[in-house]
Symmetry: C2
């Protein structure tokens, strides 16, 4: 076997630009074995000899031989390396119709999650101040978790989540949000989207009715659509979701998705009266409320409002939370708290249908909670986000106060700016802003169904925007709004 020739032929027949010598040798020998050029039983030359013949470093040959052995193409014996037999795999390309290069129809119109705004600046909602996250502390927790790793931490794990994290969460939620639960009611998920998928499939059947706020969170709409639930948009005003008597009568819900602490996207806070009304209505209708408490840890003014889940004993509420906003999005850990009666059935369903895992990360997070690091981080972020909120509100009042009003700025990581002039198109303005490199999502783009119940303006996330940058960004938006209003006045 003339290996020099073999390599030459191989190199001519394909594009090897950028390939290392050892890769060329490895893939060349492998192809030769596959095609039968190097027949089964052939003994390959000693590495030193082949290196000499090919004028390459011996290490390159050793690498190639090592790879072939790992892949099973050769077998080492006492005297060297022997080629294993291969079935013939050089086959003529089948004359065939081109691949049906299309996804399913149903994958077409689903889900538009908020663009995290990678190459733009401005007000992408739901983005925490990532440069402020204590990575060093987190690494320490992670390392500690791994140091204590026993074998079962590598295993599939409890699909409901690690016990220590569920317990730490139960304690935290009880204290911080008035959520009334045992660890057994807490389920760890890979984030809000996964929690919503779980609710939509495990708590409702295809064709069941789900209420979603209008305007409302597109991710919830997508999850419910994917689960084939009947979506009814319920108007949201300045005090939150506002179902009418006819809604209860004619569109009896199985699930009610709501964001009571800080409505997404308008920022409205659901009043106590409406919370109690919703709970009473849900009870009467046999419905479950999905309370998505996504950014409730950040309250800038006024008293904390405890979760709906804890407002009444055994409330028909499934409480959702996420660490994407309070820790960092890449962590991909969220949670659900179910009513007591559903805890065991859901646990059983999960055991049948899902794998656990990510045990070390969950343990690290549990420790992060227990050690008080989470509370410390939140305290710092609250101060920071309040500063940034203040800067945004000031800039809006200064530059755009004539054009609309701020809403929903008392909590969370975003607020709404509602235009006074109904003829302005928030979607058009949002698109223009994006062209200028400023992310400013339109409120009406979050409509559930036709029309966003009169909401028309910007949804502005501020948590990740340094206060000194805010004024200039708002001025940029204000210019567009000015022009648009001037345009309306033309005959």
């Amino acid at each position: 076997m003339d290996f020099v020739l073999l390599i030459d032929q191989f190199s001519q027949a394909r594009d090897i630009r950028g390939w290392s010598r050892q890769r060329v040798l490895h893939e060349c020998l492998r192809e030769a074995i596959r095609s039968g050029k190097l027949a089964a039983g052939t003994r390959l030359p000693a590495s030193r000899a082949l290196a000499l013949e090919l004028s390459v470093a011996r290490n390159s040959v050793l690498y190639a031989y090592d790879q072939l052995a790992t892949e099973g193409f050769t077998r080492p014996d006492r005297r060297g390396t022997v080629v294993m037999s291969m079935c013939a795999v050089a086959i003529a390309p089948l004359a065939a119709p081109p691949l049906r290069a299309a996804l399913s129809h149903r994958s077409g119109g689903v889900r538009v999650l908020t663009d995290p705004g990678g190459l733009t600046s401005g007000f992408a909602p739901g983005m925490p101040a990532l440069d402020e996250f204590p990575v060093t502390v987190w690494r320490r927790m992670l390392d500690r978790a791994w140091r204590n790793t026993r074998i079962d931490l590598l295993n599939y794990g409890d699909p409901s989540g690690e016990a220590s994290l569920r317990a730490a969460l139960a304690d935290y939620l009880r204290a911080a949000r008035g959520v009334d639960c045992d660890p057994g009611q807490v389920f760890i998920t890979s984030g809000t989207q996964a929690s919503l998928d779980m609710c939509a499939h495990a708590l409702a059947d295809a064709g069941d009715t789900v209420w979603i706020e209008n305007p409302g969170y597109a991710g919830a709409r997508a999850a419910m659509q994917a689960a084939q639930l009947e979506i009814i948009g319920i108007p949201t005003d300045a005090h939150g979701i506002h179902p009418a008597a006819t809604d209860w009568q004619h569109h009896r819900p199985r699930l009610i998705y709501t964001t009571p602490s800080h409505q997404y996207p308008t920022g409205s806070v659901l009043s106590l009266e409406r919370r109690l009304g919703l709970i009473a209505g849900a009870r009467a209708a046999g419905a479950l409320i999905i309370e998505d408490d996504y950014d409730s840890e950040f309250r800038h003014d006024g008293p904390p409002l405890p979760a709906m889940q804890g407002l009444a004993p055994d409330a028909p509420v499934v409480y959702l939370g996420t660490f994407s906003k309070t820790m960092f999005p890449a962590l991909r850990i969220g949670f659900m708290v179910t009513p007591r009666a559903l805890a065991e059935p859901l646990r059983a369903w999960l055991t049948r249908s899902a794998h656990g895992g990510r045990s070390a990360e969950q343990l690290a997070l549990a420790q992060f909670l227990r050690d008080g690091q989470f509370a410390l981080h939140l305290r710092r972020m609250r101060r920071l986000y309040r500063q940034r909120r203040d800067a945004l509100v000031a800039a809006l009042e200064l530059h755009m106060g004539f054009a609309g009003s701020v809403h929903g700025g008392s909590a969370g990581m975003h607020l709404a700016f509602q235009f006074h002039e109904a003829r302005l198109s928030d979607t058009a303005l949002s698109a223009q802003a994006l062209e200028k490199g400023i992310v400013a999502p339109a409120l009406s783009a979050h409509a559930t169904g036709a029309g966003a119940n009169g909401w028309n303006g910007f949804m502005l996330g501020y948590a990740q925007v340094p206060a000194p940058q805010i004024d200039a960004l708002v001025r940029g938006l204000a210019m567009l709004v000015h022009e648009a209003i001037a345009g309306l006045k033309k005959p």
Copy 2:
């Protein structure tokens, strides 16, 4: 305010066993604020004074005050700590019908994933030898990834996966499995189940037909069911999936799920002839083959069989893999390789519908691959699994050779033991074995539809069973089989 009395009343009214003093104080004050007993505007005593009054350590009081401030129930000012106003949340339990404590109908009969066999010994399939995983090396990789963490590693990330991991995988798969792909065709998922859900939703519409091997993988069946596909079970024999002409004519598939390297559960290896036939048939039918290559890295005898995906140019194959078996299950990282034409549509769909994340873990894994650590680990595991396979085959031939024959032992982490006597009930024997603490899943329990095409016996995973333990476990199974056969002979 008499704080001693307040604490007393609080402690009487609930079960505070196991509570620390600081927790009692914190929760007592919090409840008093919520209920209005401590009215808005009330100034709490200085910590030293309260500690004296309650005869507790000052630190306990500081802890409680700190918690209350963090939660927003109090606000610090120049002179101390002031109670914030709370809306009244003590409400009478609503007289109401009990919570409809049931999951959806559709959550009832879904998915039976293999029991990892926590408290039992024996032959749970798909369990790698976790005590052999190089945790120290992995921790080093993880730490290196975190040390290099820039802010964008904390962010939502590319839903298709980190570029470095997709590239490392593309190189690895090309070399090890003959998979023909660019990094753009590689998608990182949270494991096989997630990959299957993705295929089922993005590549097929409700009502489309999917072929699943019979007997076959229950997880695939569950994913297809959840996506409302029409499932047709295709017989599997000693050479793998075997569709008849009538199947192509009367049950034209959109998707074909198959495990050609090592059929799950029978261990059959799909012959080259059948592979080519399946590809040709899929092309003609406009179908996509889902090739689940779950344990192909472990080949004990004979030549490696390259993936179907690479057998023909632009083959209509979606190739699935997982790191659960080669790394560890808790990692929760798997992958899909799509045909070129589907890569961009799928990427766009994912961008609209999913978040990325787990960036540090993905980078660590990419490094683990590039540094050769993965190949090294696989090499060790191949040797180990071959030993264990040998011990199992020997024990089966010795103790149960009269009752059946070994099948599918040339690769992977499990094999099948097929009974000669058709009147034996593998499900009954499997249940009896479980009572003895030996996991030995029944082949026929994996039926897709009615009847498992004649397969009747045990599915025995051996990767995690130390060789010295195998003989005794097999003897335990053999005893049950003996008794069952003897029972058949009775008049």
